[in-house]
Amino acid sequence: MLVRTDYLTKVYSLGHSLDVYERQAQGYQAARKVLLTMTREQVVEEAKKANIRGRGGAGFPMGIKWSFMRPHPTKPAYLVINADEGEPGTHKDRTLMELNPHSIIEGCIIGCYAIGANVAYIYVRDELHLSKERLWGAIKEAQAKGYLGKTPFGKNYPVEVYVHTGAGAYICGEETSLLNSLEGRRGEPRLKPPFPAQAGAFGCPTTVNNLETIATVPAAFMLGCEAYSKLSALHHIADGGVRLYGINGHVKKPCVVELACGPTINELIYDIGGGILGDKPLMAVIPGGSSTPVLRADEVVDAPDEKSPMHAWHGKNVMDVPLGVDTMRGVGTMLGTCCVTVMAEGTDPVLAMLNLMQFYHHESCGQCTPCREGSAWLDRTVQKLYDGNGTTEDIALLADIANNIMGNTICAFGEGTAMPALGFLKKFKREFEEYATGTRTKAQARLTVD
């Protein structure tokens, strides 16, 4: 169901200054209330009720993540915010940094207090120069007002927020890679355990939250976390609150919009995105960033078992299932970042997969052999098919390579490469075979709609 909200986006059209944030969006009242009237334990317990599933893609419950943080006798704790937005198809965090930076700073104050940290680092990818400028501007404004510093809101609990930048590596969106990058190292993912809550930034207990996750915290505490969770159509399956949804690719009006959790893909395409370019039929969507397996327009939910959590949508088209962490898992893909990439009929799926495999080949950090060699091999093999030099054995080879990456790497980048590859191979088998047999060639291949 489509329910528009404006907890995060109200100030988007009004301005990004502290003054606007305080006057128009009850800015910093949640942080003030939390620091002055609640204990740290109460904050974490309250946060759990918001059912905020991590907005970076994995969907881990934020409150539970905060509860993993235990005070350490000698080491400080850190809050690290992941704003390395770079998953192809994802364009939501940038709007928050540019248009509502104070929600992020306020979220950091509450987050620091909840996990026992005095410092938050916001890790922004270097290319987002305007985002960094707006964040630093917001930090300076909040410092001048005394909301950051030694005694925020008069409370003896110092909080400082810093912006840290990367240097163009997609892998640094992986949390342990991000921590290495923050420490001034190559952004190679770390083995887990230890998890960041035990040994994260600089060897100290650390929570890494996605930027949108932390930006939504003030709204949750303003409203009361349970009431915030209930805004969602998926509150009953612990997927609460409101989110930013992106719609891009072959729609008439690509955009970012804030909605209560639980709209369907069809609603995003037709009610928000204005329909498909040229009024063409839908071929497929990538539901939440390039690592989430593709969904075809003709897929139907198959859950005849009444006990299945997906049974409520049995027989329905997948584009009519509410977008949620567990519902998307239920249809064999992932919710990811909630930014939907739309492909109209006529798009060449083999060329689309080639484009994505070039991305993963370029961005593999090279640490684990299955991913380093596998991503390159996938790229070369799809290219060979696309060039008309492949055979049906190459299609089997692609699946074999992808299956041998899965589960054999330190971080989830391996799965992030293999899953979309397997998705395209399975769902567009006919088109791959046509390339292999020469009945389809790259001369007709296109990604655009004319």
Binding site: E127, G168, G187, T341, N355, L356, C365, T448
Partner: protein, 159 residues
């Protein structure tokens, strides 16, 4: 002349160092400062950064070679990055790249003969809702049309 940060950038570095519990954490920010000043990261800069932060030059070299945005050789005065990843490609990125190559008379990865413009492709720059797009130096140009691309490149070649 040996490389040294300008006084203004040196002050910025001192501010950066206060933010972290280790000096090594300033590696990437300091490399950005150096590249802003010099255009690329030379061997001399690697040594300079290593000395400044008390880390081995091999560490700095490792960082420089890991991250796409550090130039390991001289580049043009202006940096043009065209996003080529799927959401942009669905809205015409391949055409944008072809137009840039034709207009500049170079291929992706090359610099114009007059040293003005280096053309490269970028992987997703988080502008999928405003595709196609390109980044010119520190600025994003979104919702590109052939006319706008032409105007942007003309201006760069003249500046």
């Amino acid at each position: 002349m040996a490389f040294a940060l300008s006084p203004e950038r040196e002050r910025e570095l001192q501010d950066i160092l206060t933010r972290y519990p280790t000096r090594m954490a300033a590696t990437i920010p300091l490399l950005h400062l150096c590249q802003d000043q010099n255009g690329w990261v030379s061997e001399e800069i690697i040594q300079y950064v290593a000395n400044k932060l008390d880390v081995p030059p091999a560490h700095v070299q490792g960082v420089v070679t890991f991250y796409t945005l550090f130039n390991q050789k001289p580049v043009g005065k202006h940096q043009v990055w065209v996003c080529r990843t799927l959401p942009c490609a669905l809205r015409g990125a391949y055409g944008v790249i072809a137009q840039c190559e034709k207009k500049l008379g170079i291929h992706v990865g090359e610099t114009t003969k007059n040293g003005k413009v280096t053309l490269r492709t970028a992987e997703c720059l988080a502008s999928c809702g405003t595709a196609p797009m390109m980044q010119v130096n520190k600025e994003y140009h979104e919702n590109l049309t052939p006319e706008r691309i032409d105007a942007i490149l003309t201006k760069l070649q003249e500046s």
